[in-house]
């Protein structure tokens, strides 16, 4: 899976849980904190990421994934 595919899938997951997300304005470096993601949405995004990529995530790790670029880096490193 290359970076483009990961980005596309992650955008799909985010759009599903954050319908108000403006895809054009949302860049690789837009902080996730600027989106309306409360703790409940965050846990649902986490579940989708785990089920899509087959790894387990902790709350601490999720907090470190602050942008789409960092998330893609993490997925690249951890998907076997």
């Amino acid at each position: 899976m290359d970076r483009k595919q990961i980005e596309s899938k992650m955008r799909e997951i985010l759009a599903q849980h954050v319908p108000e997300l403006n895809a054009k304005e949302f860049t690789l470096d837009t902080p996730f904190s600027s989106l309306a993601i409360d703790s409940l949405k965050l846990s649902k995004i986490m579940v989708d990421m785990e089920e899509t990529y087959g790894f387990t995530l902790s709350g601490s790790t999720m907090m470190k994934l602050k942008t789409l670029a960092l998330t893609i880096d993490y997925i690249e490193q951890n998907v076997k």
Binding site: S33, S34, D38, S39, L42, G59, T61, K66, N78
Partner: protein, 544 residues
């Protein structure tokens, strides 16, 4: 001695008479605010409706809801009617809801609707009470919760088997003011106000019985120690089912201040609300303040009105307390300590020296006695020596509901609550929490009993044995991880995680699963969890 023997409803009414137009609470997510006059009027209506339903003084009522204005109306209404409110964790799943309803003996359940998890809530109550859709309100006969007679939806929509919120309130029209006043006069600060669920080391949840005057007494001590006034705006992102969330709310009421209650938590939502409403205090568990500090790393907020507050509910890392002081500008902020069983906030003060507010949880509030004992001998530990922290005050819980043996194990004959937390107290009386003697994981301020998760894992057809431990988390303080021995074959960790997610609330679901052939054990066969904790940390390090 209890200096504040009245009920919380009595305090609310007094404030409503004094300044009815003052803002009591703001819910920024819903865009709702309540004045003291409105809150008091609505609480009285709830109380009348409970009377009209035939609830006797002392009967139990339950609420299952995220933070909302209706939560406050039900809480103060129960206080005025003399009914104890069982506050159910808003994240629980169907089978946990069933346990809570049965354990609390609640005859009425208030259930939130009109929020993002409405469908899950409605599915869950129908799983627990399949009889509900066909039942008439007041006549529910559910096998799983035999005492439950009525379910009230906290929304406008009519749902089969439930009373809609307005229908419920309309019942109160038949009760005269005088009738409620007469009932109210008989209710004292000794009546049970709250039934709060706590995790036990045995995995069976317990219901701590908190009396009316307990929280108002604690609230008065807390507002004095933080020098709050009616002009303050007190931000609390804490859930209202949590003892810490309730005490912050009641402290705000005791001060006649405005409670800024975050109803959709994120660091961004909290800071935006603090900026908009000019918050002067913030109270939370460490993970909430971690989220706020992280948000400040990327966005700017004018929270210059912020003065103080406290963090408690989980171990408070000194660097985080310092960050709140420096990055959020809350110069009077402190770490604090409390327990559901012994009033939720019993230490900490704004005027302690900064290093003490950062490095310790402070000194006990007025009326609170602390001591540290050797857990083996029960003897008083010398100053500065670690032992089990014990608490004695008029704010101690009355006991665990229907659990006299558990109560006797927690509160000794002299009235000391044995917290299960390890601590030391220095010669000046400052207390430092150093660990725990009980097998409990504290994730984001919520206590989790490992045995509950272990029992769930045992129940999986492929699992032979399971051990759950807490590992340090930058965000939540601790998070659970599971070690599993399989009977045979193989299973992916994610399958075990999905299995857990189906059966327990998300905060209890272990984040990682390690398949092992055996557990490190003591000579007597007991699992050495400290070794598993170290092993988990090394395995996670290897993974990342």
């Amino acid at each position: 001695m209890n200096e504040y023997p009245q009920t919380i409803a009595w305090h609310l009414t007094a404030l409503a008479k004094q300044d009815p137009s003052a803002t009591a609470a703001i819910f920024p997510g819903a865009g709702v605010s309540l004045t003291y006059g409105q809150l008091n009027e609505r609480a009285q209506t709830v109380a009348k409706a409970l009377c009209a339903m035939g609830l006797r003084r002392g009967e139990h009522v339950a609420i299952w809801s995220p933070n909302s204005s209706h939560y406050l109306e039900v809480l103060f209404g129960c206080s005025a009617a003399g009914n104890a409110l069982a506050a159910i964790n808003s994240n629980c799943l169907a089978h946990e809801l069933g346990i809570f309803l049965k354990q609390s003996d609640a005859t009425v359940l208030f259930i939130a609707t009109g929020h993002s998890r409405e469908a899950e809530y409605l599915d869950a109550i129908r799983v627990v009470c399949p009889e509900l859709p066909e039942a008439l309100p007041g006549e529910l006969a559910a096998k799983a919760a035999p005492r439950l007679k009525t379910v009230v939806s906290l929304g406008a929509e009519k749902i089969p088997g439930m009373l809609a919120w307005q229908e419920f309130l309309a019942l109160g029209d038949t009760v005269a003011d005088l009738e409620l006043t007469a009932r109210d006069a008989a209710i004292t600060g000794d009546d049970i106000l709250l039934l709060l669920f706590t995790s036990g080391t045995t995995g069976v949840s317990k219901l701590a019985m908190i009396h009316q005057s307990c929280y108002m007494t604690d609230a008065h001590y807390l507002l004095t120690s933080h020098k709050m006034t009616a002009s303050d705006v007190i931000c609390t992102p804490l859930p209202l089912f949590h003892a810490w969330g309730l005490i912050v709310l009641l402290t705000s009421v005791a001060a006649g201040a405005t409670a800024l209650i975050i109803d959709q938590f994120s660091g961004r939502n909290m800071l935006a609300a603090m900026e908009k409403y000019r918050a002067t205090f913030v109270f939370g568990v460490p993970s909430m303040l971690v989220a706020a500090i992280a948000e400040l790393d990327c966005c700017q907020y004018d929270i210059s009105t912020l003065r103080g507050g406290a963090m408690a509910g989980a171990p408070c890392p000194p660097h985080l307390v310092q960050a709140v002081l420096e990055r959020m500008g809350a110069s009077e902020f402190c770490a604090a300590y409390g327990s559901t069983e012994a009033a939720i906030c019993i230490t900490g003060s704004y005027d302690d020296p900064a290093d003490k507010r950062i490095m310790t949880v402070g000194r006990p509030l007025p009326g609170v006695n602390l001591k540290v004992i050797d857990p083996q001998t029960g003897e008083l530990a010398p100053s500065g020596v670690q032992g089990e922290l014990c608490i004695n005050s008029a704010m101690n819980m009355k006991g665990y509901y229907n659990m006299p043996e558990e109560t006797a194990r927690t509160i000794d004959a002299e009235g000391w609550v044995h917290s299960g937390d390890l601590a030391c107290i220095d010669k000046d009386g400052f207390c430092t929490i150093t660990g725990r003697s009980k097998d409990i994981i504290i994730r984001g301020g919520e206590n989790i009993a490992p045995i509950e998760i272990e029992q769930l894992l045992y129940a999986h057809s492929q699992v032979k044995d399971a051990a759950v431990v807490g590992i340090p988390s930058d965000y939540y303080g601790e998070e659970p991880v599971a070690f599993v021995i399989l009977k045979q074959g193989s299973i992916k960790p994610l399958e075990l995680k999905s299995y857990c997610r189906k059966h327990i609330a998300y905060q209890k679901v272990p984040v990682h699963y390690f398949l092992v052939d055996e557990f490190p054990r003591t000579g007597s066969g007991k699992v050495q969890k400290f070794k598993l904790r170290d092993l988990a940390l090394s395995l996670i390090k290897d993974q990342l």
